[in-house]
């Protein structure tokens, strides 16, 4: 059973296109996240949603729009793709308990290549 799943695993597209990445977690967690891993393997948070409410938005261009239809899903839509968007995007989830004693579990990643 996959705890945090993402689709697609690979995404190759042309500049200017619009694409979406889907994420689902079956852990019953209340918070989901999107991270971007660049070519130097540096990981940085982009967004997080708690119970479908946006709680972190880390100065990401507004071409990126997360959508959370329910607390088990967090999708990432990217408009007008640029070369610099090429990266691996990881979804994660956690149960943000009181005192912040939560652990994030990561999905397999989506490797996005913009040509």
């Amino acid at each position: 059973d996959t705890a945090v799943s993402q689709t697609p695993k690979y995404l190759v597209t042309q500049m200017g296109n619009d694409k979406s990445i889907k994420c689902e977690q079956n852990l019953g967690h209340d918070t989901m996240y999107w991270y971007k891993q660049d070519s130097k393997k540096f990981l940085k948070i982009m967004f997080s949603y708690n119970n479908k409410e946006l709680i972190i938005n880390e100065t990401v261009p507004n071409r990126f729009s997360p959508k959370s239809p329910d607390k088990a899903h967090l999708n990432l839509h990217i408009n007008s793709l640029e070369l610099g968007d090429s990266a691996v995007y990881f979804c994660a989830s956690s149960q943000v308990a009181s005192g912040g004693l939560d652990t994030q579990y990561f999905g397999p990643g989506t490797r996005l290549t913009v040509l």
Binding site: T31, Y33, K40, K41, F42, L43, K44, I45, S48, N50, I55, I56, F90, S94, V96, S98, G99, G100, L101, D102, T103, Q104, Y105, F106, G107, P108, G109
Partner: protein
Amino acid sequence: AQSVSQHNHHVILSEAASLELGCNYSYGGTVNLFWYVQYPGQHLQLLLKYFSGDPLVKGIKGFEAEFIKSKFSFNLRKPSVQWSDTAEYFCAVKRRSGNTGKLIFGQGTTLQVKP
């Protein structure tokens, strides 16, 4: 701003050698500390975590880490590495307060174990 620094970017060891990867963070408040591992082509997996209590924590696959509060450090250790430990290792820190779940990652350390 909160930051996490991993001192070793690329470590090459022979099998059976001992491993220590450094991690320092800059935040004066209470934090949760994590080490994640990313095997080639795979997603991040949790190695171990520290929330409170005994500052020496044991994780999976024989890894351990020691939290030294006075040094703002959380170094990862393994007495004897194996070829299968070849991977990228990430230290991550989360502020206990605020409850946003935001993880700050270090730059990562590439570990290459020679058979």
